[in-house]
Amino acid sequence: GESVGLHLPTLSVQEGDNSIINCAYSNSASDYFIWYKQESGKGPQFIIDIRSNMDKRQGQRVTVLLNKTVKHLSLQIAATQPGDSAVYFCAENISHGNKLVFGAGTILRVKS
């Protein structure tokens, strides 16, 4: 999950469609994962988290899937709304530490 610089991947979806944002993490020792949403000019906002003893967790309109075999995390947003437009970051926490390691982020654009 190293930064790729200014050119973040972008996902454009139609309002009402489902969105899937993907994240590959690098450290097999990571056992706690969080998705954050960041709107322009604001700090990251917690969306949902998952621990490594689970492979799926659901929240309100959001679902996180964890595949430890291939070190992949995804965030599914149901019935995407214009207010969902933001940059989405996955973050991983390594079992022996407290700091979060963030992925580069994905821009979600919702078309009305």
């Binding site: 999950g1 930064s3 610089g5 200014l6 050119h7 973040l8 056992d31 706690y32 969080i34 954050y36 000019g41 604001k42 700090g43 990251p44 906002q45 917690f46 988290d49 621990r51 970051f89 973050a91 926490n93 079992s95 530490g97 407290n98 700091k99 979060l100 390691v101 963030f102 992925g103 580069a104 982020g105």
Partner: protein, 114 residues
């Protein structure tokens, strides 16, 4: 309840000057974190406090960067002799301090070094 607050929200300074950035964590949160976000990039960990001590300073990029926390609450991040590459958004987060739990972020301080 108030969230994490940071001040100033924006800071413009000249190269070579020192700056101080302040973070007020959520009341009752014993853990406090500083991260840096450069334009269009992800967040980079700087330092972590548990109470007033900093068990992990591994992300501080140089000895020009320092941070302290007093009274288990407010934290100050100081950048001495600022350089243009220090321009970024500096984000603070806090949590209850138990192992592996959600970190809640403040709005950030946008620093521009001219």
């Amino acid at each position: 309840g108030a969230g994490v607050s940071q001040s100033p929200s924006n800071k413009v300074t000249e190269k070579g000057k020192d700056v101080e950035l302040r973070c007020d964590p959520i009341s009752g949160h014993t853990a406090l974190y500083w991260y840096r976000q450069s334009l269009g990039q992800g967040l980079e960990f700087l330092i972590y406090f548990q109470g007033n001590s900093a068990p992990d300073k591994s992300g501080l990029p140089s000895d020009r960067f320092s941070a302290e926390r007093t009274g288990g609450s407010v934290s100050t991040l100081t950048i001495q002799r600022t350089q243009q590459e220090d321009s970024a958004v500096y984000l603070c987060a806090s949590s209850f301090g138990r192992f592996q739990e959600t970190q809640y972020f403040g709005p950030g301080t946008r620093l521009l070094v001219l």
